[in-house]
Amino acid sequence: MIVLKVENVTVGYTAVDILHGVSMEAKSGEIVSIIGPNGAGKSTLLKAIFGLLKPHQGKIILNDEDITGLKPDRIARKGISYVPQVDNVFPSLTIQENLEMGAFIRTDDFSQRLEEVYDLFPVMRERKKDKAGQLSGGQRQMVAMGRALMLDPQVLLLDEPSAGLAPLLVADIFEKVKEINATGVVIVIVEQNAREALKMAHHAYVLAMGRNVMDDKGEVLLADEEIGRLYLGG
């Protein structure tokens, strides 16, 4: 079943379009990876899905419902959460407060969810009174993901969660992404670590210069010679 569908989206920050008719879809249970060179428009695509940018053309559909042009808080209420590429925690707030902010729009009791998120990231439970600004890069990414998970989203958009992390931590983060996915959350992940991203992807898209270049199963793209040469560093 298709959960999220991006149809022919054209969008930009100003009058200049950055994406030119990009399409993609994510089915239930999937991890979908988006790879491509710097400036390809990967982050722009996630921002458009989350309503931070308004498409000039095309549609974004969640569970057969057209959500194109809705504001981010409306989209969050519909079941999509988003972790930005940079500045994705509140540095002067504690870990616990960061998670509470993730649940800001919830009016019910979310203590159960808080425990589940802590179970997923036990380190965060130990350090819940620490300010997020004092954490290492890897821990920050975990807080950022935890914040996004507080709404119990159906779809989680992750923008380069492994950026700038040591290889060991990168493996950690990807492990967490798989764990989150195993709980039934559809993941759309943008990655520079393209090889790893393709390995764990059920389906993957290659973007370049604001257009779809190719898409297929992760392992198929991984085996593709041209993709390997152009995007995976040989």
Binding site: F90, G102, G133
Partner: protein, 304 residues
Amino acid sequence: MPELITYGIVLGSIIALGAIGLTLVYGIIRFANFAHGDLMSAGAYVALFVVTDFLAWVGIPDTNFGPFSFGWRMLIAFPISMVAVACVAIIFDRILYRKLRSKGSGAVIFAMSSLGAAFILRMVILIVWGADSLFYRPGMLRPAMDLPLGIKIRPDQVLIVIIAFSLIIFLHLFLQSTKMGKAMRATADNMQLALVSGIDTERIIIWTWGIGGALAAAGGILYGIDVQLQPSMGWNFLIPLFAAAILGTIGNIYGALLGGLIIGVAQQVSTAFLMPTYKPAVAFIIMIIILLVRPRGIFGGKSA
């Protein structure tokens, strides 16, 4: 000297009330509000109106209140004025600053328009109350008590410090433990991420102005009780407010409190060596020195 330091703490707690509002507003919308001092004046005069006109008209007698120079009416006027000035600050934001924000105006435009707002407030005060100095209760004797170390202090002044600190503690609890308070801190940290988390940042901005305006009103009234009311009182506070906020690292409310106390004490102690008319210059010089030596203030680390 101990006496001057004590007076400095009294003045400093008044400055802190203004500086905290200034720093709070700056922290959320990155906007240096030059009208903040005049919000203090507005608070003082609204309380004057409530005490001498409105409550007199309602028929509430101004019975003495303990050993203080003001009467029962002030207890009613104080919160009314805080709410009124909170509304004034919010209205300025809604009709003026919000429009500028949505146009993406630069810092200079904001500074100029808040300067305009400051003039409007002061002119209204001048037109309604005139340029003379006024008192909440003219002709009151204001006896002082004797403390150790030869410090003479009026009961009013003790109460001023208590009220200022109570308000600040109240604000601290609000910011630390309520959902709205946490969302305010989150928005000050990272407005984009606050939006992404579904926080209605416009609502946060309204709260920020309301709190800033209410604290400014409190500061203005307390100064009116301690000294006198003057249409230019708030304007004269502007430099001490900025000096305190910058000294304590702009955006940091605890810094603004400490900065306020330091500036207040420095201003009062300076009168041992300089003419009292140089007090504003003392704040100005401290501000220049901080800007040159440590532009991010006492608590300014790596990031602003």
